[in-house]
Amino acid sequence: MAFRDVNARRHIGLQQLSSLALAGRTLLGPMKSCKFIVDESTNESTLICSAVRLLESLDLTSAAGQLLNETIQAQNKEFKTGMSTLLFLAGAWSNAVVECLQQNVPVSAIVSVMSEGLSSCCERVQCLQISIRDVNEELCSSNVRPNAFKSKTCQSGCDNLLNPQILMYFQKDISAPEEVNPCSHQEDCCNLNKHLVSPLAGFGSVGPLVKPAGGKSMSVISGSGGIASSCNKQKLTHSRYFSTQGKSWFSSQQGNSQGCLSGPSADPCECYGLGHLAMALSHGNQTSLKLLQSIVAYQRERAECSGSLQFNTAEIVTCCLQGLPENYSCVSPGFVTLVSPEQAAVIKYFEDKPLRILLMDGDLTEQYRHLGFNRPRNVRTILEHPSLQEGRAGALWLSSMLDILISFEVNLVLVKGNVCENLMERCIANSILVIGSVSRNVLSVFGEVTRAQPVTYLTQLNAACVGSGAQVELWKACDGRAMDLGELVPVRIKVRGIPMLTAVLTSTVTSKMQLIEDAFWTSVYRLHHALNDKKVFLGGGAVELLCLSHIQMLAEQPLQTANKNAVNEFHNSWLAASVTEYKSVVLQALASGWKQYLSVVMCNTAKAASELEACTSVDHHLKKAADCGSPLAYILKEFGRGDLLRGGSGPFADHREGLKVYDNVTAKIEAWRRALDLVLLVLQTDAEIITGPKKNQLLNSHMSNEYMFL
């Protein structure tokens, strides 16, 4: 066993954490800069834009790196959001803790003050939580404010020209009827009608105008509204940050109009609640937001039939289409997947007739056996009368499987695993569509809606296992074209009443596909968690700022009272004793994490030229908050009007009420907690013990003097 002492004044583990986290600085906040990660040995590169993908692509052999990766993966698995925050804070707090160590603060004092400090902050920021119901009321009411807004939009458009680098888009989310969808670029204005018939389009802006029933139209359009808004050359997204993605949102909205005609619409309030909430949580990611709002609208329409309103992530799948422009992204009811052209050819025979569907939860191959089945090795087969026909391997199996499928009149088979190629060919020849690699939750949705019972082997099949009522068609893009993407063809499988929705994600850039998919799921899960939590945080840095001001207050608390409580607070006199002395130093270290967080976000979004400038701005607000007596009141007032850290004198000073930004509660708090836990875990580690064969390598290597051997 090799043994390495890691706890010098400069703690190796903490340094590793902070240097790994440094790589993720630009991934913080809504304006992320992507990174290329190049593997020098193979010259392959990956484009990444999230902390999870960053760590996946890095070679992490150090123990601290392993733990960091594990922590980020756990956050990702649980929340799908907050990973960059986690990564950043882990780095910032590592640095801060190293500084404490250099000032001779004992480890136990750092551990107890920091973890108690974080708990105290988490309690404090509860007052920035807003219940979902309040959010809905607020968001909807703030939008029924017809014209007060319009003229200013124009003006803002002009002001924005001062800053041509940043394309600023402004969209008033749900407008009152006459204030139809402010349209962005002049050239798009001719398409106004299209927007109006697009109930699912982005912000659902025209929702109130559209009555879905019977496709009866639609446009009670107040021309003035449309024209007035058309003068807005630029829009501002519903984010505290400016986004350039709005552009593609707009054009895609156009494209969408036809495909979505049949889609559901919405009536003003409750419905839009979710749409609005999604927007406030999207932090400026327009592509995902548009899709998410379509999903919300679809699920709402369904819920009206079934009576319960819920947002179900298990019924959402994605299908990535490479080679189509990004504005073709849309949501299709049913299950969209890619098949080979040969398989697609089968669809022609189906026309519109309802299909009999079979679900298989394993592979569809001769060799496949259910998990846990051990193939006998000690069985020898004797063939007494060889004949030519039986010699052909697998032919018997093929024909018997095909017979089963034909005798049960199965038209469509969804298989969880792989499909034997020969069988696939035979099925195609017999007009049976077999689709492999279908995920378990897709099978389960189809099982519910078609009453098909999943089977493992075809020999298990009986009449009760086969479902019915499925329909298959070629998936058509919004402009009505069926897509042929070279090797693979998208098809759509639907069943009457199927709750499944497929977000079809498109991109012409292969390496961006992953980013788009990740971003989409992040948006989905943000909404999901907001609904689960039943509350959201006031976003835009409000929470972090309140933490900072709370820590200021904690640090200034007279030592006397702190001392009295210390022992009770920490259960244990071993932890309590040295705490009071170092309290303020350690609390400052905790605060520095959030302060850096705010300033890096401001830098990334180009709201501050340098971190120094950003820090000054944060300090300025902290001081003002402290001076006004109640920091909470100050923060509520300032953030209630929009984004405080945007920089006070922007063009939006007057109509901030539309620019709500919210954050997830649990995901954020958990990201903090996980980051601090990781840092404290590494901090308290004083030695690495290396076991296994690596020990002998170390013993003989030049690094052996760093280690001790038992």
Binding site: M1, F3, V6, T61, Q66, L67, T71, P106, V107, S108, V111, S119, D361, H370, L371, G372, F373, R375, P376, N378, V379, R380, T381, I382, L383, E390, R440, N441, L443, S444, G447, T456, Y457, T459, Q460, A464, F570, H571, N572, W574, L575, A576, A577, S578, E581, R674, D677, L681, Q684, T685, D686, A687, E688, I689, I690, T691, P693, K694, K695, L710
Partner: protein, 572 residues
């Protein structure tokens, strides 16, 4: 052609303890173990150095099981500590540190090993007699009619492992859960020989600790449940659910791959024959009104389908660890063959439900009489979860030991310092006949006793990992901690606030002295007094049985190692 290699000669090492390499390794091991001790202990990252799983821990069980040591002396030490841990779960570090200190202290004495051993055995018996006597000042009775003391005991164990990463709320939540789980395992109707039930820990990694819950009965994870609607369970006429428990694989591959070869004619499928056999079992189960079939291993999909069609719930892959509690809870006998099915093997259940927790789905088996429960244990990441699991198991074990012997020792170093001051006091007042019996002089006895006490005190000192001072008081013999950064003053009462176990406040002048660095202190000292136990909320307590055993194991192992004069190694 075979090649013969000459046998290597045996390796003799005489006086192994005097070898440099051994004493270096021993002091390194002592250092590692001491640095882990207590709530402020430092953690160790155990990993393979090439990017594998990292185990972050300060628990002796995790560290010792992964350490490989090159010298036999260390192996002896580690083996006896591990043996102690397997019997008591708790106090492993205490045992190991004490043992190392004893070896170190006794080795430096200029007294013959055999005399040291005799004297130290006498000292041990003094300790054990004192600990078991009513007059013992460092133990308290555990009152099972209230939860306070029990909670203190559990809380002390949880807080002593910092790698669990728990904050105050989480410690409180989890202590309550562990205690609740333990109380579930105590049978309600006690007959002549009561057997405690079992608490099964169900892992849910990635969630918050406060999401953990305790449920009566057992949970079996089943990924497939989402593919099917929750079934309605078939019940017998007495409204119970009949359960059949299989410990044999029902996957349809029932040949033994080890023995011989089976020859079959082409066209005959053994698989089909096996499946038919299984379906016959299924038929019998349906006829016998079984409502739930649980299999330790895999059930063939066709059999599952058949059972489902007949409204029998089939749950497979229950795993070996669940078999014993399953059979204990349901009264069923695990069926080991699919050929012989006797109705007497069936057990019964009150209810079966489907539960979802996080992203996992479980079949929840609810018995009539709960002695088996499930603790769904959550923690944010894997390394902290593993540590927490070990800690929870220790806590459950300690509660079991405590119900057998309802005593607890004061923790936080107080028992060690108290015991040391008792021995110092006692060793001065021994009669000369004792020395004659032991065949030693008073001086020799004093020397060994002093070494013994210093070893005990050094365990208490190991609780301190930052700079600072450890004190003991001359009245109760408890252990006190003073943070660093204060000038060495005579009036300690300005600095101390509470003793290690939390029973003493700084209310009277207790005449403190430094624990370390004053080894030549006059041993004239009164017998340490017992403190009347008020109800104190946050006492630090240790398991009585585990600590007593630890003390014995440490001393006996130290004696064994001191007595080693040769190590003979077979090098082949």
């Amino acid at each position: 052609m075979s090649r013969l290699e000459a046998k290597k000669p045996l390796l003799f090492i005489s006086e192994p303890l005097n070898k440099d390499t051994v004493s270096q390794s021993l002091s390194l091991l002592t250092g590692i173990l001491k640095s882990c001790y207590g709530p402020a202990g430092r953690l160790k990252q155990l990993h393979n150095g090439v990017g594998g799983y990292v185990c972050t821990t300060s628990q002796s069980s995790a560290i010792l099981s992964r350490l490989s040591v090159s010298h036999r002396v260390l192996s002896v030490l580690m083996a006896s500590v591990q043996n102690h841990i397997s019997r008591f779960s708790d106090c492993g570090l205490f045992t190991a540190i004490l043992c190392c200190s004893l070896i170190e202290n006794f080795k430096s004495l200029n007294v013959a090993p055999c005399t040291v051993i005799k004297i130290s055995k006498h000292l041990l018996s003094l300790c054990m007699d004192y600990l078991k006597s009513e007059a013992c000042g460092c133990r308290i009775w555990v009152d099972f009619s209230s939860v306070e003391t029990l909670l203190c005991l559990v809380r002390s164990i949880l807080t002593s492992k910092p790698a669990c990463m728990l904050n105050k709320t989480e410690v409180d939540h989890l202590s309550t859960l562990i205690l609740k789980a333990f109380l579930f395992t105590v049978p309600c109707h006690v007959e002549s020989n009561a057997v405690l039930g079992k608490c099964v820990i169900v892992p849910v990694k990635g969630r918050r600790v406060v999401d953990s819950v305790v449920l009566p009965g057992l949970l079996i994870e089943t990924p497939e449940i989402q593919l099917a609607k929750p079934p309605t369970v078939k019940r017998t006429c007495s409204n119970m659910i009949r359960i059949a428990l299989f410990c044999v694989s029902m996957s349809g591959d029932g040949f033994n791959p080890e023995e011989g070869t089976i020859t079959v004619h082409h066209g005959i499928s053994i698989e089909t024959l096996e499946l038919n056999q299984l379906l016959n079992v299924g038929k019998q189960l349906v006829n016998d009104e079984v409502g739930l079939v649980v299999c330790q291993k895999v059930i063939h999909p066709s059999l599952k389908q058949y059972l489902k069609e007949n409204r029998v719930i089939a749950v497979d892959r229950a795993g070996l660890s669940l078999m014993e509690p399953l059979s204990q809870m349901t009264g069923s006998k695990p069926i080991a063959s699919v050929h012989l099915l006797s109705p007497s093997c069936y057990g019964s259940l009150k209810d079966v439900r489907i539960e979802s927790f996080a992203s996992k789905h479980f079949v929840h088996l609810i018995p009539n009489d709960t002695v088996v429960c499930s603790l769904i244990l959550c923690n944010r990441n894997e390394t902290a979860w593993d540590e927490l699991k070990r800690t929870c198991e220790t806590a459950e074990h300690v509660l079991q030991l405590t119900i057998k012997e309802p005593l607890a020792l004061l923790g936080g170093g107080c028992t060690e310092t108290h015991l040391a001051s008792y021995i110092r006091h006692k060793s001065c007042s021994l009669s000369t006949s004792t020395f004659r019996d032991l065949d030693c002089s008073r001086t020799q006895y004093q020397l060994v006793a002093d070494g013994f006490c210093r070893s005990l005190e050094s365990v208490a000192c190991s609780l301190n990992h930052d700079e600072g001072e450890i004190l003991t008081d001359m009245v109760y013999g408890h252990c006190w901690f003073v943070p660093s950064g204060f000038p060495s003053v005579s009036n300690w009462s300005d600095l101390v606030s509470k003793c290690g176990c939390g029973i003493n406040g700084n209310t009277e002048n207790l005449n403190w002295r430094l624990l370390q660095g004053q080894f030549d202190s006059p041993a004239i000292q009164g017998c340490p007094r017992e403190l009347s136990v008020k109800v104190v909320d946050f006492l630090t307590l240790d398991c009585f049985a585990a600590k007593c055993s630890g003390l014995q194991v440490a001393l006996e192992t130290a004696n064994l190692i001191l007595d080693l004069s040769y190590v003979i190694e077979d090098q082949n």
